[in-house]
């Protein structure tokens, strides 16, 4: 080391910086100039467009034409989970919801959300998001039911959110469906695990207690058996189709009739925690 310590230190600083900057400049030249221009030429892109794509300023690959679509929207449900809707469901006017429930829902779904008739679903402890989605779909005709269609006709979005939140708040919510001790092992397996080979996810993957499924997933535990059977059947034959992207139609169509029966029986058998019980 002939160099003075200070000179050696400075040389380290200068050369390290120079090498690092050089590497970054070469990388940037290749990444933002050479590659996109060469790739863009074969795809018929201008150099400018290709460079913009490589920088992420324009959508698309620098190496291919960007497709377009002339399709028209044909939604199966008009519900969009905007922050406003979610916020309303988190901060509802429960008094308003209770009034609406007492006036127009109680006769079929029960005063406390426990329906007296096998064909009507229980509402107590149901997810507010699930109830809101269905009310909205009834109103828009995405889900067809004469009775419900005429009942929700006059409710606006906020009223629907309030009544949904009211029913949701009536109990502490569902128990984990797998707390029941008995049950046909085949059905338990279907509920917990599904069938990989048939592409059927377990019911509990979405409807379970800690599943993190789609936000509008309803609670099934303790629901009316007849109602569950009717809905699964309707999904299977396409009569009901307000599930977005075939989430339920796809699964229900793959289930055999006896499986649908057993699933309905299984979920109906799981007792909900209700104050009056």
């Amino acid at each position: 080391m002939a160099l003075q310590p200070q000179a050696a230190d400075r040389r380290w600083r200068v050369w390290s910086t120079a090498i690092v900057v050089f590497v970054v400049v070469v990388a940037a030249l290749l990444a933002f100039v050479v590659l996109p221009i060469v790739q863009g030429q074969s795809a018929g892109l201008t150099a400018f467009a290709a460079i913009c794509r490589s920088l992420g300023l324009q959508a698309g690959s620098p190496a291919a034409r960007q497709p377009s679509s002339e399709s028209k929207a044909q939604p199966v449900s008009m519900v969009a989970w905007t922050p406003q809707v979610i916020d309303r469901l988190h901060h509802p006017n429960l008094k308003n919801g209770a009034e609406i429930a007492a006036n127009i829902c109680a006769s079929c779904h029960g005063e406390k959300g426990v329906s007296p008739d096998a064909q009507f679903p229980h509402m107590a402890g149901q997810s507010a998001f699930a109830i809101y989605k269905q009310l909205h779909d009834f109103k828009n005709g995405a889900r067809v039911n004469e009775l419900m269609g005429s009942i929700v006709e006059n409710l606006d979005d906020e009223q629907m959110a309030d009544v949904a939140a009211h029913f949701s708040a009536l109990t502490k919510g569902a128990l984990d469906p797998r707390t029941i001790s008995s049950g046909d092992p085949d059905v338990v397996r279907l509920v917990e695990y599904g069938v990989s080979g048939r592409g059927i996810p377990g019911c509990a993957s979405c409807h379970g207690a800690h599943a993190g499924g789609p936000i509008e997933t309803p609670t099934l535990a303790g629901q009316r058996q007849e109602y569950l059977f009717a809905q699964l059947t309707a999904f299977a034959n396409g009569d009901r189709h307000n599930d977005i992207f075939n989430r339920m139609r796809g699964i229900a169509a793959k289930l055999h009739k006896d499986e649908i029966e057993k699933i309905a029986e299984y979920y109906a058998a799981v007792r909900l925690f209700r104050p009056q019980d």
């Binding site: 910086t17 690092v20 070469v26 940037a28 990444a31 920088l55 922050p83 695990y193 080979g197 979405c206």
Partner: protein, 541 residues
Amino acid sequence: MKSLERLTLAHLWVAFAAFAVACFFGVWQMWARSPLPAPFVTPDHYFLSVTAHGVSMAFVLTTFFIMGFGYFTAETALGRPLPGIHWAWLAFVISLAGALMATVAILSGRASVLYTFYPPLTASPIFYFGLVLVVVGSWIWCVLMIVAMSRWKHANPGAPVPLAMYATVANAVMWLWTTIGVAAELLFIVLPASMGWNDTVDVGLTRTLFSWTLHPIVYFWLFPAYIAFYTMAPQAAGGPLYSDTLGRLSFVLLLLYSLPVGMHHLLMDPMQSTGFKFVQMMLTILVAVPTLLTVFTIAASMEIAGRLRGGRGLFGWIPALPWERPMVLATGLSFVMLFFGGGGGLVNMGYGLNALIHNTSWVTAHFHLIFGGAVVIMYFAISYEIWFPLTGRVASSVLAQRIQLWLWFCGMMVMSLPWHWLGLQGQWRRVAQFDYSNPIIAAWGPWVIVSLVGGLLLLASAILFIWNLASFRRRPFAAVPSFRFAVAVHSPRRVPAALNGFGLWNALVLFLMVAAYGWPIAQFFVLQAPQAVVHRVDRGG
């Protein structure tokens, strides 16, 4: 020095307790995925297990081991008491409390989002708070390491910081940079979402921030292994280190080029452009430089030792090495695993080539070989090496230690080589069970069973490791000679300021991070990307 030993042992025992438990989870997961019928398999059990395995191995084992080993290095390499040992205990308590919180959240089934999070899925806030506390504890460790080094430099003006300590501080500095990404993700986006304060998250931004952390975190785990290569393995082999400067240079390059490269984890992601992926890919290749430098330097150091022991010819020094010593054996085995793991890694980072194996078992094999293999086997060797000075007792059986290392090596190879093959066939990741009635998947079955056998060997090795450490207690106390790290052939009297501190490198890291991550992160604030609805796994459905 009694208190330092207690401090170090406390850290290491927490690390290895988590490690042992995680090994059981890991074997059960492989069993569940195999064609053999396994007990308890449901998706929630499986993903709970994957989360527990990942958090224990990647966060608890590593962080506690690195902290404990760092304290030990600071005091032994610098030859003076650790400043602020009370702070070190505080850091330990914070990290331990965090790890326990995360454990409670995971075991209650409210945090089955794996250790890599995947927002908009959000777990219980207790899980994230716990992990944040683990990191906060490690930050205190970083500060203590930096303070220890700067006080030593103050007391020894102009003298080169001992290599072991220089490397430890390089790791501390790198860890501070590394955690910025995940801390920003957790504190500003994921934790508020899990608390219910916001209902939507920007998934592209969270993934990009996590990628900031995801690569250097692996180097954080790797550093102790490298420190052992440079400062313990030559000593154990009976020779000096070949070059001190090459060591410093390697550690500095690891600091520089492990940070601005995380986007190679996002090569298949739609929200980053080709250009920035290419830039970071190019920087990623440069990580090969310090790795190859290390391979060369350590091989040269071993060559010196082997020749001193009478080895002749081009390769005669290799059989002449004292392979019966665990540290030497572990170094050799580690290099073999580093070779395969590194080769796999070169495929992973290959820009378009990544499409071949992204999210297949190939990647699982890669990081199990690199981290679970090459790094963890050095954690074992380091522990065997320092357990005598820590406890004052000599090992009861070096043979058992050697058997344990060999078992680990064989298990890791038997487990991960089939995974590479399966990955190339397209076997995808994070699946609780495969449908072996499908003809494509059925052909994988035998290889999955082979890898399960590897897993069982690993479990046996893990149990033997704990037994080996515990068996120190049955031995009488012996006089402990002062612990010495390896010194170089030509011990430098002075090193350039650049290789004795981190000022220059911090400035260059800042430059690289701005160049590599500036726009890729800023774009989310310019683009106003649409947000996704939060999916909470800790609430009843």
